[in-house]
């Protein structure tokens, strides 16, 4: 993804490749500025207006490339093929419509359902997302609900078009830890019950550990490490993934204090030369500043680090 900014081109997302299977949860783990949210938006072709995309976005159920597809085709995939939930459900819900009306509208939009059908399906969806009293919630406005309840309503709305892929962009960041756990459980249950693929965006190691089948770690617009959740989260190989792991506070009273990563996450447009992590990396050698490392596969895992991969000029 490229932006033109004052005569220069800025590339906040740079050559990211991801693949998702049915009934799989892939977690994009990254800090602010890693390009994770822009990647998610691009998947739905909701990239910012002034952005230019290149590459392909293949949607296999309909053998489409969403990058070259007609706007009408893209619209038909949104909601019924790929749906999205966000960090702050309040901004995605209409504040002046009762929750039930919003979901029913979504159902009517995607299926040619009559009003009575739509209402019945609305209640079924609210029940599916764990509402004890679907009829009551259907009659309430978003502001009358707690943050966790709102996220459930937004999830029901996302399911209205019966999607195959759900993109969840930090869906629990605004929630309490206990509510967070319940929403994550709900998403896993939906994955199992519906065969839903989930692309989960998070900066939170714990959320990744709770959700992921596979993990892709993003840094400065690139994937630096991809692999199974067990591999990447238990035995991270890329120095950034390792450093991130070390920076997560441990609950244990006697555990070592979290280790800060020196410096800052670089801004798009100011990514360092060579390996983008090298200025903050404890293992960096001279070559790291000069040569851009390739993402190399070793078994089931890929790592973008020449030192780790043993690449010599």
């Amino acid at each position: 993804m490229t932006f033109a900014r004052g005569g220069e081109s800025v590339r906040p997302v740079d050559g990211i490749s991801l693949a998702l299977q049915e009934r799989e949860c892939l977690v994009l783990l990254g800090e602010s500025g890693s390009g994770k949210s822009l990647t998610a938006l691009s998947t739905l072709r909701l990239e910012p207006r002034n952005a230019t995309l290149s590459g392909t976005i293949r949607y296999e159920p309909r053998a489409l490339d969403l990058l070259s597809a007609e706007p009408a085709t893209i619209r038909s995939v949104r909601g019924s093929g790929i749906a999205m939930i966000f960090q702050e459900p309040m901004t995605a819900l209409n504040p002046v419509l009762r929750c039930g009306e919003q979901i029913a509208e979504g159902i009517r939009l995607h299926a040619s359902a009559g009003t009575r059908d739509a209402n019945a399906r609305t209640l079924a969806l609210l029940e599916e997302v764990g509402m004890d009293d679907p009829a009551r919630v259907a009659g309430q406005y978003p502001h009358e609900l707690s943050g966790g309840m709102r996220q459930r309503v937004l999830t029901a709305l996302a399911l209205a078009g019966d999607p195959k892929l759900l993109i969840a962009d930090e869906p629990t960041t605004a929630l309490d830890v206990s509510t967070e756990q319940r929403i994550l459980d709900l998403l896993l249950r939906l994955r199992d019950a519906r065969g839903l693929a989930i692309l989960m965006i998070t900066h939170d190691w714990g959320v990744a550990a709770a959700m992921a089948d596979r993990v892709s770690v993003l840094y400065a617009g690139q994937v630096v490490e991809t692999g199974s959740a067990g591999d990447v989260l238990r035995e991270p190989k890329h120095p950034y993934t390792r450093a991130l792991h070390g920076a997560v506070p441990r609950l244990d009273r006697h555990a070592a204090a979290p280790v800060p990563i020196p410096g800052q996450v670089p801004e798009p447009g100011a990514f360092p030369s060579g390996c983008r992590f090298h200025p903050r990396c404890a293992r960096a050698i001279t070559a790291c500043a000069e040569r851009e490392p390739a993402l190399l596969a070793g078994g089931t895992r890929t790592v973008r680090c020449d030192v780790e991969n043993g690449v010599t000029s």
Binding site: V177, Q181, H203
Partner: protein, 282 residues
């Protein structure tokens, strides 16, 4: 004292003493026809913090922890009970409280809240440091400002920057530098890490740790995340429903939590801080 086991309260002189504090807010009933009523965000809370101690106030949102921090800082007044700090009653309206209040500083989740967007970093620090010297009207020298910036890991070049030119982590450093410029003996930190990236959270945590070593700062650290507590505090007060439900040394509470709210927070934090496999699927 509600919920707080009296045997664990510090017996020495209390630097911050909270006595039976309640803070009620009037709420308009949601929906049709419900009349005005009030809810107690903080309910009959008592707590003592000794000088130089570091205590974490932990709870879920709505537990009352931020309201309590604001009451301690004198940014709000209790409906009942009182807060003492350094032997004086904290009362935003009292003249003698105003004169010494700069010794207690607060940093927030959103560091921008404490930074004037139209002032350069240097001017922000200079203004506050006057209070630190008792309002003598002398301006801080460039060297003074550079030292304040250096203390939090910022550079002299940052003196001329406006707040919006800093990243989130740098803004929190600047807001910490601003708080320290007043030469406080007490720091209240309300979720100072929540808006920061993980790699930067650890930087601020390390910085707070070092500052406590350097100067005998009394620290009240408000957080929803128990995992950071062992790295910043010796004592822990768990809040739920406006009350302190458990209070004592971090070691003891982690080893043997006595309240359900504490156990739930511990379980959530345990999940968050492991890189282990997925938790069970329903």
């Amino acid at each position: 004292m509600i919920g707080a086991p009296s045997g664990t309260a510090p017996t020495g002189d209390a630097w911050i003493e909270i006595e039976n504090v309640t803070r009620e807010f009037a709420v308009r009933g949601a929906g049709r026809g419900a009349g005005a009523r009030s809810i107690a965000a903080v309910q009959d809370v008592s707590l003592r913090v000794a000088r130089g101690d570091s205590i974490a106030l932990v709870g879920t949102s709505g537990s009352g922890k931020s309201t309590l921090a604001r009451l301690i800082a004198g940014l709000d007044r209790p409906t009942a009970g009182r807060v003492r700090y350094a032997g004086r009653v904290v009362d935003p309206a009292a003249r003698d409280w105003q004169s010494g209040r700069h010794r207690m500083q607060m940093i927030f989740q959103d560091p921008a809240a404490a930074l004037n967007p139209r002032h350069r970093a240097g001017a922000i620090l200079a203004e506050v440091s006057e209070f630190g010297r008792g309002g003598d009207g002398r301006h801080a020298s460039a060297e003074d400002i550079d030292a304040m910036l250096a203390r939090v890991g910022l550079s002299p070049a940052d003196r001329e920057k406006f707040p919006h030119e800093f990243s989130g982590g740098q803004k929190q450093r600047l807001s910490l530098a601003r708080a320290l410029a007043a030469e406080p003996d007490t720091l209240l930190a309300d979720e100072p890490l929540s808006a920061l990236d993980v790699s930067v959270q650890a930087q601020i945590l390390a910085l707070l740790h070092d500052l406590r070593q350097e100067r005998s700062l009394t620290l009240v650290f408000v957080t929803h995340d128990l995992a950071v507590v062992p790295h910043i505090a010796e004592r822990l007060a768990v809040m739920a429903g406006g009350r302190i439900v458990e209070e004592g040394p971090v070691d003891r509470i982690f080893a043997d939590p006595s309240h359900d709210a504490t156990r739930r927070l511990l379980a959530a934090a345990r999940r968050g801080s492991t890189g282990g496999p997925k938790t069970g699927i329903l």
